[in-house]
Symmetry: C2
Subunit: 146 residues, 2 copies
DNA sequence: TGAAATCCGACTTAAACGGTAGGAATTAAC
DNA sequence: GTTAATTCCTACCGTTTAAGTCGGATTTCA
């Protein structure tokens, strides 16, 4: 049940853009360096984020990417679902799926629904701004330990 | 983030064994028929359940499988983790993983931890007996609609 | 002895994952 | 107007995993 790198790296991209929010466009190269990830691979991922309406891009030299909204208005859930699709533990709980008629009564479906609901609750309640806050808290804590 | 068939079918197997609990061993063939799944494939899955100490088997004619404990003493979480391993959305939150040092501070990790915790909360709070109860409720409801 | 079961391991096919590579288009700065 | 930095686009590629199938050995009840 591990999330693919698309979702994981994508969230990291968005987090870096959130840290940089307000300072103009950030080139993907910088994101890749800060997170130690392949730039060419991140290109593919950020294309989805752009298509999904979460970032804008400025082409050419001094260009880069920017969040399309304020960090407090973008939830982790929005990001992950944009990249991974709905986070269902089984296909049968997706909206467009017909009810499964294979078994007499599909009781496992109730389980998948509960799991999905609880995942969505978590990720929809966290925004990029919360992550930025966490960053500063961690930083402060670590510097206090010196 | 979809669970593999190992976990999904495995839970269905366990649920059928729970429905049958107290009536002696249930042959896998019957499970496969009731759930409309491939018997030979289920063989592989139930081998893991046996190895994981969740079912016992009786070989030979009139043999089959049985839950090793009462349905109310087996949680869905136990079953799924036996088949799928820990349900982490990223490897870095597993116990044996070292803390990632790639980025300055790993803030996404906090997200994965929260997701994992919430999934575990859900699946650990449901037992096979709850599923059996759901079955009878669904059945009653459906018959009432006639 | 035969039928019904579990048990075991090898094989297979297709898709997904996690990238790499090459180049075209755009734009700011000099 | 050239150059360097950047986004954009699409094709390719090797490895792993998923989801089974298959054939047969073994056990046991009737």
């Amino acid at each position: 049940m591990i999330l693919s790198t698309k979702g994981r790296y994508g969230l990291k991209i968005m987090y870096e853009l959130a840290l940089n929010y307000g300072n103009g466009p950030m080139p993907l190269k910088e994101v890749a360096q800060r997170q130690q990830l392949s730039e060419t691979y991140l290109e593919q991922i950020i294309a989805h984020l752009k298509k999904g309406g979460l970032v804008t891009s400025i082409r050419g030299a001094q260009g880069g990417y920017e969040l399309i909204r304020k960090p407090e208005e973008i939830s982790v859930g929005e990001i992950i679902r944009t990249l991974e699709g709905p986070l269902a533990p089984a296909e049968c709980v997706l909206d467009d799926e017909p009810e499964c008629t294979k078994a007499e009564y599909c009781v496992t479906r109730l389980i998948w629904e509960k799991i999905m609901e609880s995942i969505n609750n978590v990720i929809d309640s966290i925004t990029l701004n919360d992550m930025v806050d966490d960053y500063y808290k961690l930083k402060q804590k670590k510097e206090g330990e010196k």
